[in-house]
Amino acid sequence: MARTGTSRRGFLGAVTNLLMAAIGLIVAIPALGYFWSPLRRRGAAEGAGATFQDAGPLADIPVGPWRLLSLEMVYEDGWKKSRVRQAIWVRRQDGGDQGITVLSTICPHLGCPINWHPDQSQFTCPCHGGMFDTLGQRTGGPPPRAMDPLDFEVRSGRLWVRWQDFKIGVAERVPVRV
């Protein structure tokens, strides 16, 4: 249509198009900025993985078998403080603080929770059959690496664990920033 009109109309047409584009941009830029904000705020929020959480007294964990404990973490969830509970596998091999192992329950394959089977003395992931030995090392199935260990401390007879999320599906253990 611009081809058949006068050159003035062609110019007006171009100006009109430009104007519409300008209006569109003026509306779209703040809208996208608002919509994109979770990506920009990623650096600010520390998330649940930053600090150690209390898992309970060591005395409550019997020496020998693997024990499932829960960690409760509080994090900033918009206008609320949300509580999230995560499970961890803990084992004490002796009476002291040295023989403690803490493993994440999240399977490094696709993120399902791993179960301990005492009759088979191994960890098995119920989703795709990933298998791990009593130390959490991979023995079979699709998972790309061993079960992820978590940092912990013993403070006055209590176990404090730092929860971390790791990237799933890769062989390298990379913590994910929440």
């Binding site: 249509m1 109309r9 007006l12 047409g13 100006v15 009109t16 104007l19 519409m20 300008a22 209006i23 003026i26 509306v27 703040p30 809208a31 900025g33 608002y34 919509f35 904000s37 920009r40 705020r41 959480q53 209390d54 898992a55 309970g56 007294p57 409550d60 404990l69 829960s70 409760e72 918009g78 206008w79 609320k80 509580r83 209590r158």
Partner: protein, 741 residues
């Protein structure tokens, strides 16, 4: 439609498959008789404003949660923490007001143009329905932040709906989602606002636009048919250009407005708070109208008049059968239009101008577009009222007087009493809230955060200020409020320090030689009751301060009677009972931690904290008994400085730095100069150390005097917080030497 007329190859790839050229022809190249017009831009502008509302509304709904508990916090979150949240929210808020204005302008333009006449009656009617939808969107959207204004405006609005004859109550229940306004109202309004009405509106817009295009734009009445044909132009680009320019100006204007004026947000909805309910400005005409109809005639204002008005508006094209479009040839229509417009605008202006609010609502958003300050801000004040109402009002009363339960709890203080207020330091009030006063007042250290306790302290202070109404144009010193303190309490706070527990005044006589001995019968006989009352109220000599700002005449007479009882040494005032402070050995916490349920609240008290709490209480009550009368609640000694020029100002930084801790303790135990008596024997060594820490806590932060109005909340909060922290720090420091046997 006519695609077959063009050669397929000319249509191009997309043209052959989508037929977009046909659409382009129909939508954009429609001929406009008389050419493009600025006046015709109003409709597009209205549509553009609606699109803007949809865009900003969708963005807001990503962060908004429609439930009674989360609505207000989520809106506050958007306002304070989401990047550009405040701006997008402002656009949505002010945009809705602008849409109402644009709507009325569009209506005016269409009416004046006579663009509703045959065959365009249905276009008009669909437009009126669009008006209903827009007002409905405004009404439902308004509730969503669930702040005070939203809650009460909706409550009143629903009340008006309930006056509809016959179906009124049912209608209200339907809109409320239940028998009363609450969570289900909010969810229902949210659904109506985001799904039902926008859907309906889009449908109606399609109908409206289709009908408009079908009949073509209404040409102006002043041009003949030949002129119109000669000036005919296609819609694109000129009309689109005009529409675009108007939209751009509107967009930039709205953007600037929103940048400088954030959307308001009042305190969270609280049905128990007194509040002057007002609707938003575009409903104020109705608010004003209702003032003229009372009792049985109220329904005229709430139902009859609005219904008649909207019915007339809706059916207007069928009521006005005059075929002429020239306004001069339509006197009836034009006069009705003028009447309606002037009436509505006039009612609105009159409503806003004559509105007298009983109380100013608490604002949670600062007027200027400055970034939000630190946590302890106006928001805290808004929350404090609620904290007070939930925790304290049951006994102390909403007004702080405690009169409802005084019969059963005679020692409950009257927070509105100036005398009581002046007998308390800020720190003492804060500690009282924290530690309670067993067995009658519970401790709040586990129920409230420290921020909340400190904020409540300032809230408690505000009772005495607010309760005294300003007398005349200039508010003088507040009138003496009857002390709800028993004479023994008054004596302890204001008199005991100088006159002593037995009334003999031995301690202070060295500094004040004229101090009388109340136990002396001769002195008692020489003074009449009237003279004693005069001394108490107006002061005496160099050192005795007037009490008339703290005690009323009736209280002064009570004190005179109390004074008489000292005769012959028959009355000894018991000093306040002090529980001994036993330093606890550090022990394991008494609470057992479970692996599955870590503590949610602030950590429970350890023995060390309880000890500090007890010591603070002791120090505070000693200060009140022995020190307050000269050194004042703020520690500045302003009241006494006229008679005691060398009295220090505890808030003065140089003074604090000049005095070491041992010097403070020595001053307390052995006295200082000629005027400050020794307190050895009345306070123990440990207590003297704690008092020194208490004195330290007054400075170097400026303690704010009592007359500061409650709007200085932030300042006072920070001052009190600094005092509090300082006191605890000092007590920790002092604790080591005090423990030495």
């Amino acid at each position: 439609m006519h695609a077959a007329q063009e050669q397929p190859s000319q249509l191009g790839f997309w043209g052959q498959r989508t037929g977009w050229t046909v659409l382009k022809q129909a939508l954009f190249l429609e001929p406009l008789p008389g050419g493009s017009r600025w006046a015709a831009a109003f409709g597009s502008l209205l549509l553009f404003a609606f699109v803007l509302q949809v865009v900003t509304g969708v963005l807001l709904s990503m962060n908004y949660a429609p439930s009674v508990d989360s609505a207000w916090p989520s809106v506050k979150f958007i306002q304070d923490e989401v990047p550009l949240g405040a701006f997008i929210r402002a656009v949505h808020h002010w945009g809705s007001s602008v849409m109402v204005i644009l709507l009325l302008l569009h209506l005016l333009q269409v009416f004046i143009w006579g663009a509703y006449k045959k065959p365009r009656e249905l276009t008009w009617m669909s437009g009126v329905l669009l008006l209903f939808c827009t007002l409905g969107l405004a009404f439902t959207g308004y509730l969503l932040p669930w702040d005070q204004k939203a809650y009460w405006a909706t409550k009143v609005g629903l009340g008006i709906a309930s006056t509809t004859p016959g179906i009124g109550d049912g209608l209200r229940t339907l809109l409320q989602g239940g028998p009363q306004m609450g969570n289900l109202t909010l969810t229902r309004f949210f659904s109506i606002h985001t799904f039902v009405l926008p859907g309906l509106l889009v449908l109606l817009v399609v109908v409206h636009l289709y009908l408009f295009r079908l009949h073509g734009v209404t040409p102006p009445w002043w041009e003949s048919a030949e002129q119109l044909k000669a000036q005919e132009e296609p819609f694109w680009p000129k009309q689109v250009l005009k529409d675009g320019v108007v939209s751009l100006v509107f967009l930039v204007g709205l953007g600037l407005w929103c940048y400088y004026r954030p959307a308001p947000l009042e305190a969270q909805a609280d049905p128990s708070q007194p509040y002057g309910a007002r609707p938003e400005w575009y409903f104020m005409f109705l608010f004003q109208l209702l003032r003229y109809f009372h009792g049985p005639y109220e329904i005229v204002g709430t139902f009859v008049l609005p219904t008649v008005f909207f019915l007339v508006l809706f059916f207007w094209p069928f009521l006005d059968r005059n075929p002429r479009r020239n306004p001069r040839q339509r006197p009836v229509a034009m006069s009705l239009l003028s009447l309606g417009t002037v009436g509505l605008i006039g009612l609105t202006i009159f409503a806003i101008a004559t509105d007298v609010r009983m109380t100013e609502p608490a604002q949670a958003v600062a007027k200027a577009a400055t970034p939000a300050a630190e946590p302890a801000g106006a928001i805290q004040r808004a929350d404090v009222a609620r904290v007070y109402n939930n925790n304290c009002a049951a006994c102390h009363g909403v007004d702080g007087s405690g009169k409802q339960i005084r019969a059963g709890m005679p020692t409950i203080p009257d927070l509105t009493s100036l005398a009581w207020q002046m007998s308390q330091t800020d720190l003492e009030i804060a500690h009282r809230i924290q530690d309670g006063n067993e067995p009658l007042m519970p401790a709040y250290r586990d129920k409230l955060s420290q921020q909340q306790i400190l904020a409540l302290t300032i809230y408690v202070r505000a009772f005495a200020v607010i309760s005294t109404p300003p007398a005349g144009p200039k508010a003088p010193q507040p009138a003496p409020v009857t002390a709800q303190m028993a004479p023994i309490q008054v004596y302890r706070v204001y008199c005991l320090a100088c006159h002593d527990a037995d009334g003999r005044g031995r301690t202070a006589r060295k500094a004040m030689p004229d101090l009388p001995d109340f136990s002396d019968a001769k002195w008692q006989a020489a003074r009449s009751d009237a003279e004693l009352k005069q001394s108490i109220l107006n002061g005496k000599g160099k050192f005795m301060l007037p009490m008339k700002d703290k005690l009323g005449p009736a209280d002064a007479e009570q004190m005179v009677a109390y004074l008489r009882a000292f005769r012959g040494g028959k009355q000894i005032v018991q000093v306040e009972p002090q529980l001994p402070v036993v330093p606890q050995p550090p022990a394991l916490p008494a609470v057992v931690f479970h692996a599955k349920a870590p503590p949610a609240m602030p950590p429970p008290t350890t023995p060390a904290r309880e000890e500090t709490a007890a010591r603070t209480r002791v120090a505070a009550s000693l200060y009140r008994q022995y020190c307050l009368i000269c050194h004042g609640t703020s520690g500045r000694g302003t009241e006494m400085r006229a008679s005691m020029p060398t009295i220090p100002d505890f808030t003065d930084r140089p003074w604090q730095e000049l005095m070491s801790n041992p010097q403070l303790v020595v001053s307390i135990l052995d006295g200082k100069g000629t005027l400050m008596p020794a307190f050895r024997g009345r306070v123990s060594d440990v207590q003297a150390h704690d008092l020194a820490a208490y004195v330290r806590a007054f400075g170097p932060v400026r303690a704010v005097p009592l007359e500061v109005p409650a709007s200085d909340f932030d300042q006072r909060f920070h001052a009190l917080q600094a005092e509090w922290n300082e006191l605890h720090r000092q007590l920790q420091e002092v604790s080591k030497p005090a423990r030495k046997p």
